[in-house]
């Protein structure tokens, strides 16, 4: 057998580790993390779309990636415990791996269909406003401009209906 170069040794160690410790969770986490980073980047590069739509979509995609990452960790843990509990209670210990795979499919599907979208719906916009600043709220409560010509802003005819005592219902 020939001697391996440091690169070959590292490559072999990586492959052997992945081969011995093959957990679907590692793949799911890597994919969730990479999607959470790359998808929003590509969305922001879509110049054919209006900026605010892009911002919301990109933020939602990143948030989905983050939520999915955590959800997969929790789901994996709960599925392991749940399958073990059911297998022990029903005397199906030898069939625990089978039970784990079916329970995993159910829980991952339900998480993808309901849990992650629900969390994203509830959290995307409030979190986006907190991180990027809520421009709409700022527009609703504009800060008065400093008027160097006097204490009060210059009078405009348009303000006629909004000032002074009103009689009747205008």
């Amino acid at each position: 057998m020939k001697d391996l170069t440091p690169f070959q040794k590292n490559f072999k160690n990586l492959c052997t580790y992945l081969g011995k410790n093959n957990k679907a969770l590692y793949g799911a986490l890597t994919i969730a993390a990479s999607k959470g980073i790359l998808r929003p980047t590509f969305t922001m590069m879509d110049k054919k779309q209006e900026l605010n739509s892009r911002k919301y979509t990109a933020f939602r995609e990143a948030f989905t990636g983050a939520v999915a990452f955590v959800a997969y960790l929790i789901t994996d843990n709960l599925v392991g415990r749940g399958a073990k509990y059911i297998a022990e209670k029903t005397n199906h210990i030898p069939e625990l791996p089978k039970m784990k795979s079916t329970l995993s499919l159910i829980s991952v599907s339900l998480t993808a269909l309901f849990v992650i979208p629900a969390i994203c719906n509830a959290g995307t916009k409030p979190l986006m406003n907190a991180v990027l600043g809520d421009k709409k709220t700022q527009q609703k409560n504009p800060v008065s401009k400093v008027n160097f010509q006097g204490a009060y802003p210059a009078y405009h005819f348009n303000d006629f209906y909004n000032h002074g005592m009103k009689i009747g219902g205008l």
Binding site: M1, K2, L4, F7, F11, K12, L14, C15, T16, Y17, L18, G19, K20, N22, Y26, G27, T30, I31, S34, K35, I37, L38, R39, T41, F42, T43, D46, K48, E50, L51, N52, S53, R54, Y56, T57, T64, A83, I86, A87, K89, T90, E95, K98, S101, T102, L103, S104, L105, V108, S109, A112, L113, I116, P117, A118, C120, N121, T124, K125, P126
Partner: protein, 203 residues
């Protein structure tokens, strides 16, 4: 009640379905492609145009992901990733000269079976008659399968496939699908009537 749950979880058809990666990925992708756009359309925090854009993008992206996963991952990344790993570790007994990833996967399936089940199995015909883990080895891998209770499993070969799948999934799903969806999203949105032609604003 719990016995009924166990019965459902251990239903042979369901177990086979859950152990087939293609089926599970397809199921999850279909749920994502339907559930996520529906949820986006229900998000009343944002205007309708933004919702339509985000929902169409999500549905299209998930559909592209499924297509790429079923085609590019096994036929491109797994195939060439395994070959590349064999080149890198050429001559090393941890990764024998299997014809391709499929031959190794067939070998791995047989190696996990009981020795009595291996003999006469249809997959045995798909394993090379002359392949050895190294030239110094006396027995071929096929002979190991027929005589050893626990034939060598070659975790490095399995890891090479896992690594190829992982790299392929990141490149295919996170990069190629994202870029591809940017190109075809707007024509599809115009086709669905979600976007007016030339209604483009630069920001």
């Amino acid at each position: 009640m719990i016995d009924k749950v166990a019965g459902i979880l251990l239903n042979p058809k369901f177990v086979n379905f859950a152990n087939n990666t293609k089926y599970t990925v397809s199921t999850e992708s279909i749920f994502k492609a339907t559930g996520r756009p529906a949820a986006i359309m229900l998000d009343n925090h944002v205007d309708k145009d933004t919702r339509k854009y985000a929902a169409t993008k999500e549905g299209l992206y998930q559909a592209l992901c499924l297509g790429i996963y079923l085609t590019m991952i096994p036929f491109v990344f797994q195939k060439y990733g395994f070959k590349l790993a064999q080149k890198i570790l050429k001559g090393d007994s941890s990764l024998p000269a299997f014809k391709n990833a499929a031959e190794y996967l067939n070998y791995a399936k047989l190696a996990k079976m009981d020795i009595k089940d291996r003999k006469g199995h249809k997959l045995l015909a798909k394993i090379s008659d002359t392949l050895k883990s190294s030239p110094e080895e006396n027995l071929t891998l096929k002979e190991h399968l027929l005589s050893d209770k626990k034939p060598p499993e070659f975790p490095t070969a399995k890891g090479a496939i896992e690594l190829s799948n992982l790299v392929g999934t990141v490149i295919g799903l996170a990069w190629i699908a994202s870029e591809l969806s940017n190109y075809i999203l707007h024509p599809i949105m115009r086709g669905l009537g979600f976007e007016k032609p030339k209604n483009i604003s630069e920001n």
